[in-house]
Symmetry: C2
Subunit: 159 residues, 2 copies
């Protein structure tokens, strides 16, 4: 039986393992530097600002969804942003991904959000087809810009 | 003289006016439904999760930057996400935009963030050139998906 439930502190090791599996699929395993302590802190620490749902089949974790709240200045409302969604390859087709997204949509409405958003790699056609089938719309005119590492430090420096 | 300072509750009307000016530039004025009360709540309410910096020239507000904290599961660290950046057209070229971005980079490092990110419309060439000149990198392989309004309600519904 498929069950969606909020993550607990006991799930942190499993969540980090899922994060690594997703990064491997996204061809970015070398970019995963997170520790169990960091994930614990983001989800359950004093300044925690993220949430996480687990998908279980017959009591075994098969996937997860990690999210936080963003803000739309146009709507004047928070939005729910899904950072990571992953279901184990051997557990796909059981509806776990859809159940996680539906549960997140409920969290979004319960928390007064006007939007539910996430990002997808442009070559991930199965995921894109799945999101389109759920009525989500691509915001293709927006490009994300990022500064990190030394470039971020340089930007922060006084002239 | 150019000054960057944190917004106060007295700035909320000015901030909402800037939000509208930015939406007009982005050809989306009809999408601004935010009220002063909603912006006040997001910045200064009990559950406030956004921050805002103001740019002033000789004591007059000429621009703003509204942000919140996201989270990178790869870094295991929060990131600073810049939702809106705007400088009045007649006040451009004085360095207010760059000063706002530099101040935000400092906020990001002070708050333990591993990244500083924002989004730009793909036709906004002056902004893109400016961001590139600061060392920011486009994450062009990512497409943002969004569900809102009735589509979000439908997704949240039980089958």
């Amino acid at each position: 039986m498929l069950v969606i439930r909020p993550a607990t502190a006991e799930d942190v090791g499993q969540i980090l393992w899922f994060i690594r599996q997703l990064a491997i699929y996204e061809k970015a395993e070398h970019e995963v530097h997170a520790s169990e302590q960091q994930i614990h802190s983001a989800l359950f620490g004093e300044l925690a600002h993220c949430g996480c749902l687990m998908a279980e089949v017959d009591g075994a974790a098969v996937g997860f969804a990690l999210y936080f709240f963003n803000f739309s200045t146009w709507l004047g409302q928070p939005g729910l942003y899904l950072e990571d969604l992953f279901v184990m390859p051997e557990s796909r087709g059981l509806g776990a991904g859809k159940a996680l997204l539906k549960a997140l949509a409920k969290v979004a409405l319960d928390r007064g959000c006007g939007r539910f958003e996430w990002s997808v790699l442009d070559w991930n056609t199965p995921a894109i087809d799945f999101y389109q089938s759920l009525g989500a719309e691509p915001q293709s005119e927006w490009i994300i810009y990022r500064t990190t590492g030394q470039a971020l430090k340089n930007l922060a420096k006084e002239e």
